[in-house]
């Protein structure tokens, strides 16, 4: 045990990429969990999945066109998709879940095809795999990526804290919020934008297939046990950060893939909370 701890400290002191991974990982976990509660409650759990596939498609386009700054394409495209998807809630020709499914698989297919038709490197399946599961990118962050990530995380946190009560009102009861003069559409828009930002950020950490897990698991765990919105939010943030930290540490020690290790930690915590609620609450399983 001591030796693995020493190994960890050694990594942390000697390798900047480990420190970067920690900072970025924890920030992403924090941001994604905050919004997760709102998305789960608004029945938008799958929006993370849909958007991340869009981001994957955009990433493929960026790779094919050989852009050095991939964010320049990925972020705006994902933002656009988020706004479109959250808008469908209001005037529904195509129902919300169908729209998500459509955009999600569509972007996935086109992205994969582009990567195959115009290969940017000889190792296509490696490229695809790392975009989907984020296998190594968290450990290859450059200082610029870290700065960008910190800035975006601060923006997300600021928006969330500033509009906390309004986000609560819009999540709980959109029609009442609207009737009392809160611009529900504006806040839905803000939620969409922030979601897209988090997705793009989180692609580095867990890859596009596993982002949903990062968004929904901490929220669902917290909702099992806690009874007020504030405590659910705080608890889900704590769960998410702790799981991300544990996941990163374990993946370094046992050289497992970072993303799936974090998600596994989230799943373990979820079952722990579920057991607690089953024992204490009884009626809510």
């Amino acid at each position: 045990m001591m030796s693995s701890l020493e190994k960890l400290v050694d990594y942390f002191v000697n390798y900047s990429f480990v420190r970067y991974a920690f900072v970025v990982g924890l920030l992403i976990a924090l941001c994604s969990s905050l919004l997760g509660v709102t998305l789960v409650l608004k029945r938008f759990s799958f929006i993370g999945d849909g958007l991340s596939h869009v981001a994957f498609g955009a990433m493929a386009v960026a790779a094919v066109t050989g852009l050095t700054n991939r964010m320049a394409i990925v972020l705006p495209v994902t933002l656009l998709a988020a706004i479109l998807l959250l808008r469908t809630g209001q005037n529904t020709k195509i129902k919300g879940d169908a729209a998500v499914a459509m955009i999600s698989v569509g972007a996935l297919a086109i992205g994969y095809m582009l990567m195959n038709v115009f290969p940017a490197s000889s190792n296509i399946s490696g490229d695809v795999c790392s975009t989907l599961f984020g296998s190594t990118s968290i450990l290859t962050l450059r200082p610029l990526d870290v700065t960008l990530c910190v800035i975006m995380a601060v923006v997300v946190l600021a928006i969330f804290l500033l509009f906390y009560h309004k986000i609560f009102a819009v999540t709980f009861d959109e029609s009442f919020a609207q009737a009392s003069g809160i611009q529900a559409n504006l806040y839905n828009f803000i939620i969409a934008v922030v979601t897209a930002m988090i997705i793009v950020l989180a692609m580095n950490l867990v890859g596009s297939l596993l982002i949903s897990a990062l968004i929904i698991f901490p929220a669902l765990s917290a909702m099992r046990v806690f009874k007020s919105f504030k405590s659910v939010i705080i608890c889900s943030a704590v769960i998410s950060v702790v799981c991300a930290a544990a996941g990163i540490i374990l993946s370094i020690l046992f050289s497992t893939p970072v993303g799936s290790t974090i998600v596994t930690a989230d799943i373990v915590v979820f079952f722990g909370f579920w057991a607690v609620s089953a024992i204490t609450g009884g009626k809510r399983a």
Partner: protein
């Protein structure tokens, strides 16, 4: 003092008219019950009264600042993790602008309203663990936090057991006696004639009746509707 005037209003969507010829006024202290079958345009009228939807023609004027709205329950709310206090306080949000926190007065207003409706002991409880009647009281308190002048209730007793329905009706009647103007959408005609002061009856696509409850009892539309709705229930 007149709080709402509705003059020759026509409501509808792009592809058709939902209700037309709507003429009524709501004065301070009134208890107006809006009756009508499903699909008669009641919910469209509610949206128009709240100012969320504009009428196709005619006039709807609100002379009061803000309406306390009690919407129909949504599926989302049934398993929502929020404490009663958080929900009631969210009624104070109207007019808070960009301020990211509640003021002391707003918090106090929420506490007083909870006392007024007898739910102050539930303040820390989780909304989803309450009974249907308690949940409606919480939403009523939230609406009262928004304004003490005019409440708009959209089928508030739907899904409640008879005892809880009665409690809620009594509570709304008490608020009305304390000076709160009430507009209630309902299809419970017996409760309407028992508690309301005025009735607005919308048939398919047009207004059938507007007037006091006594006038309604003596009108043809009122008599036929009351007969169909089962007068026995009311007398028992």
């Amino acid at each position: 003092m007149i709080q709402i005037t509705c003059k020759d209003a026509v409501l509808g969507y792009e592809d058709g008219i939902v209700a037309e010829g709507l003429n009524f006024i709501v004065e301070e202290g009134d208890y107006l019950c809006i009756l009508g079958e499903n699909g008669s345009g009641k919910s469209t009228l509610v949206k128009a009264l709240l100012g969320l939807k504009s009428q196709k023609s005619g006039e709807i004027t609100r002379h009061t600042k803000g309406i306390g709205y009690l919407p129909q329950q949504t599926i989302v709310q049934r398993d929502f993790p929020a404490s009663v206090r958080e929900i009631v306080r969210s009624g104070c949000l109207s007019g808070s602008g960009l301020r990211p926190f509640y003021t002391k007065e707003e918090k106090q207003r929420a506490d007083e309203t909870m006392q007024q409706l007898g739910i102050d002991h539930l303040a820390k409880r989780c909304y989803r663990d309450l009974s249907g009647g308690q949940q409606q009281r919480v939403l009523l308190a939230r609406a009262l936090c928004a304004t003490k002048h005019l409440l708009l209730l959209d089928e508030p007793v739907t899904g409640l057991d008879p005892k809880a329905q009665l409690d809620l009706y009594e509570m709304i009647a008490r608020l009305n006696k304390e000076g709160v103007t009430i507009i209630m959408v309902s299809h419970d005609v017996n409760a309407a004639v028992r508690y309301a002061s005025h009735i607005l009856h919308i048939g398919s696509r047009k207004q059938l009746f507007f007037g006091t409850v006594d006038e309604y009892r003596n009108s043809r539309v009122g008599q036929s509707f009351l007969a169909a709705g089962g007068l026995d229930d009311e007398q028992s």
